[in-house]
């Protein structure tokens, strides 16, 4: 995976960002290759979400550089990130509650016909992708506030995968889900990985990390403790990194 000849899909180099004097992310470097899942781990407040928000355009780093396919990228806002085919499933899902599933899926990228929004086409497309992701989903004509947690999650996931993302950021995609739904997300991650996407996965469940990720980068207090090949370490090694902040010998 880390052969020096391959160009990483994403390289975050020496990223730093502070809020009111507190270093939320302190000189962190991580990378991601095509067809790879990299887990970002750490306690709450370790800086994982803040780090990936620099990549998704929600925040701008105070220092450091981002490279996409080996070229320096400038990501000033979420629109820039989308132009680099970076899609994000936020922990909060970032859905507009009063709009229906299709309007949320296409928010900011509406399909148009004759200068007006083409709701029929957008709903048809939403039905198509939902048929693949969550065949039980039927609530196409109600505001997403009326959906269950799992249904809302599937709308957020559909939005991220519909637009042919090359880089996917998933911030605790299974936090609100039951075991069956978690299993479906795991299958989706494997499928997307097989298609050659690179995925940053923020995940608390060490079990899921061992199962889904190729590598894991552990953060603590804004700093990177280290990045390990998941196949070469044990659960306890990673837990040690998270809790003690120590790299396995």
């Amino acid at each position: 995976m880390t052969s020096p000849k391959r160009t990483p899909l994403v390289e975050l180099r020496d990223i730093s960002i502070s809020f009111g004097g507190i270093k939320a992310v302190d000189h962190v470097s991580v990378d991601l290759y095509p067809g790879e899942v990299v887990g970002l781990l750490g306690h709450n407040g370790a800086g994982k979400s803040t780090l990936i928000k620099c990549l998704s355009g929600a925040y701008q780093a105070d220092g450091g550089e981002i490279f996409i396919n080996g070229e320096k990228a400038s990501i000033q806002n979420p629109r820039d990130a989308r132009n680099y085919n970076i899609e994000t499933i936020y922990q909060t899902l970032a859905l507009a509650d009063n709009l229906d599933a299709a309007s949320n899926l296409f928010l900011g990228r509406e399909l148009m016909a004759n200068g007006l929004v083409d709701d029929a086409k957008m709903e048809a497309e939403t039905r198509r992708i939902m048929g693949r992701l969550n065949p039980n989903f039927r609530k196409f004509n109600v505001p997403v506030s009326a959906l269950s947690g799992g249904q809302r999650q599937s709308v957020a996931i559909a939005r991220a995968v519909y637009f042919n993302a090359r880089i996917l950021i998933m911030d605790e995609p299974t936090a609100a889900l039951g075991p069956h739904e978690t299993q479906m997300v795991a299958e989706l991650i494997r499928e997307l990985k097989a298609q050659g996407l690179g995925i940053f996965l923020i995940e608390h469940d060490i079990h899921n990390v061992m199962k889904l990720c190729d590598r894991a980068s552990v953060m603590k207090n804004g700093k990177l403790i280290g990045t390990v090949d998941v196949k070469k370490v044990t659960d306890d090694d990673i837990l040690g990194m998270i809790i003690m902040g120590k790299k396995p010998a």
Binding site: A96, N98, Q151
Partner: protein
């Protein structure tokens, strides 16, 4: 995604915003009941002349209601719609009477000045991060002051522009259907409402207005230029106030610089009675128009029944509270 969701499945074809539809039905039922009540108990209420009065009164408040509905759905508020209306009327007066320019320029002046003031409010809200309530409270005073300054605190009459009458009180429909003396201003209100409704439901702007009011952060993360769309929303709202300015000054054949205070509350009341949520993200133009009719029927009916004028204010307050309560109850059922 789960099996448990199967039980709550429903093929909701056409069911989007059902609650908003229900609220409109409730508001419309209230309007019909009020019309029936006053027709029976208020002498001459149902006379055609009185209906025309009601429609004319509704035209101004209805258009202002539409203006404020856009802003409220976008998660904001605009307290300046009343005095902005006044200033646009004064601008029309300056252009037509003081400068003696032709009517179309007066109309453009009113719409443009409204749009500019709205854009300024939007700019202070989006860029300076001033809360909408405060920013538009400031604009309310700015517009009120400017209207008095520009007019030297005196009414500006439109006597040199007789065609100005055709904006509101004249009835052009009688040329087509003799005897149907519905004032032009009423048609203008419906035209504004129809265009506004299309904008809200079928254009990008409308979609983004709902998105802003639903979850501004989600809108931002979706790549929307949140500041631009906010400013656009307030500017549009201001321009619609320009339409109201033309209507009110045409009806009075004068721009009255002292008028306008209090109109903003009637406009907000019309929107709220019509089911627009002050929390943002929900509302309809049709609901606001029904709300505006409820307000003017109430005012007119109580006056004819000889109820002391001030009671209308009390009743309006109660209706707003009831309307918001109905909104809360319906939302829980959703």
């Amino acid at each position: 995604m789960t099996d448990t969701t199967l039980s709550e499945q429903q093929d909701g074809k056409g069911g989007m915003f059902t609650m908003a539809a229900l609220q409109k039905v409730v508001a419309f039922a209230v309007l019909v009941i009020m019309l029936l009540f006053f027709s029976i108990f208020a002498p001459n209420f149902a006379a055609w002349n009185n209906m025309v009065n009601i429609m004319q009164a509704t035209a101004v408040n209805g258009v202002l209601g539409v203006a404020v509905t856009f802003v409220i759905i976008a998660g904001g508020i605009d307290l300046a719609v009343g005095t902005m209306m006044t200033l646009t009327a004064v601008v029309a007066g300056l252009v037509l009477t003081n400068l003696g320019l032709p009517l179309p320029l007066g109309i453009v002046g009113a719409l443009a000045s409204g749009g500019l003031m709205g854009a300024f409010s939007g700019w202070t809200i989006a860029k300076l991060k001033i809360p909408p309530f405060i920013a538009t409270l400031g604009m309310m005073q700015i517009a009120r002051g400017l209207a008095l300054v520009f007019s030297e605190a005196k009414p500006i009459y439109f006597n040199s522009t007789p065609s100005y009458q055709y904006i509101s009180p004249e009835s052009s429909i009688t040329l087509l259907i003799p005897g149907l003396e519905i004032p032009n201003g009423v048609f203008i209100m419906f035209i504004v409402a129809i265009i506004a409704s299309i904008m809200l439901n079928r254009t990008i702007l409308g979609r983004y207005i709902f998105a802003l009011g639903s979850n501004e952060e989600a809108a931002r993360l979706s790549g929307m230029n949140v500041d631009f769309w906010k400013i656009t929303t307030y500017a549009l709202s201001g321009a619609i106030c320009g339409v109201a300015g033309l209507l009110v000054s045409s009806r009075l054949n004068s721009a009255q610089p002292a008028l306008g205070l209090g109109y903003e509350l009637d406009a907000i009341a019309a929107a709220v009675i019509g089911g627009t949520s002050l929390a943002g993200g929900r509302g309809t133009i049709l609901g606001t128009i029904i709300g505006a009719f409820i307000m003017s029927v109430l005012t007119n009916g109580l006056r004819i029944m000889g109820v002391q004028e001030e009671w209308k204010i009390v009743v309006t307050g109660l209706i707003i509270i009831i309307a918001v309560y109905v909104d809360i109850v319906l939302r829980k059922k959703m």
